[in-house]
Symmetry: C2
Subunit: 203 residues, 2 copies
């Protein structure tokens, strides 16, 4: 999961200082004050370090944003490369992608939350939106493939279906808080059960 951050920071790490903590704190402050409302000075104060200690790791606030949203995107795209996403009937691959996406969302909650709030106000944000659209497109293709294979209800439009499916997945960021008693597996199970089997009991 930390692949993006680790790769982007390759060669820049300094013993005793942690890029992961820097990103986590930056994202927390972005959520509290808004990205535009946060200065590198604010971040330095919150971290209890100097601005130059931050610049040792990243060149700008934009780079902090890029590394944070890439962390979420890399984790989501990694799901599409898992063997269960690549082999077997389309309906089972779709099921796997939905289940694992919920787990990634819980694992990388602050980073995915930041990603989902990006509105395209800068180059970094537009690149993130483009990667999100690519992810949505790939999921949409999987839905269409499952439909062609006859595994889905025929009365549903694939594009609308994938939007609603990921609408339910992404809604988890609105209420999920760590340590509230639900595991990521329980949430993923509830999402996939509702989405694939439906709420209604059929005896």
């Amino acid at each position: 999961m930390a692949g993006a951050a680790t790769n982007n920071g390759a060669g820049r790490g300094r013993p005793g200082y942690d890029l992961d903590s820097l990103l986590r704190t930056a994202v927390k402050v972005f959520h509290e004050r808004g990205y535009d409302g946060t200065s590198m000075e604010d971040l330095a104060k919150r971290l209890g370090i100097t601005k130059s200690a931050i610049y040792y790791h990243v060149s700008s606030k934009q780079e902090l944003l890029r590394m944070s949203v890439d962390r979420a995107l890399d984790a989501l795209f990694a799901v599409l490369d898992e063997p269960e996403s690549l082999e077997g009937p389309a309906i089972d691959r779709l099921h796997h992608v939905v289940r694992r996406s919920v787990e990634v969302l819980v694992d990388e909650l602050p980073f995915v939350t930041l990603l989902l709030r990006v509105r395209g106000n800068s180059k970094v944000e537009r690149q993130a939106l483009a990667r999100r659209r690519e992810f949505d497109h790939l999921v949409g293709e999987l839905v269409a493939e499952a439909e062609r294979a006859g595994s889905l209800r025929l009365d549903l439009d694939p594009a609308l279906t994938s939007r609603l499916l990921f609408g339910m997945v992404n809604s988890v960021i609105e209420w999920y808080r760590p340590r509230q008693g639900l595991t990521k597996e329980e949430i993923a199970e509830a999402v996939t059960t509702i989405a694939f089997e439906g709420l209604k009991r059929h005896d």
Copy 2:
């Protein structure tokens, strides 16, 4: 649907001027510039009227916000009072509430979008959040009732279920745009089909 606005503005209406247009434009500007970033001066400019013409209808920016979120909330609560929400098996009442909530969301898109973005930064916002929680609580009770009646899959937690259900419903604000070819009935049908029957085809 305009019940809240009409009631709140009772006795204040002036022939030739339209409170509905005032609210619609205010909400549009709030979405573009943020509520905090919008002044009454900004609104007057956009409307092409004077500030005092706005103050003829509302006493403050806070009142514009309150009337806008109340419009969404009143429309959602009105769904719970419809005969189909009050009579019959709980599963059918829940189905009706979900279907009609999607329709209200499409009908009142800018107002519901504003409501869903409220974070509790003022008394008006905290009152709106309290009413949202009351609505969620009533839906949660309906899910629990349907479960007790044996109409739902037993392996789903009612609170989690209603959160995910309305997570899917509310996600429509993220992508729905009027005049894109989908009717509110089609979207409501897709949401209820996925949520109640599931994506998977069972022959």
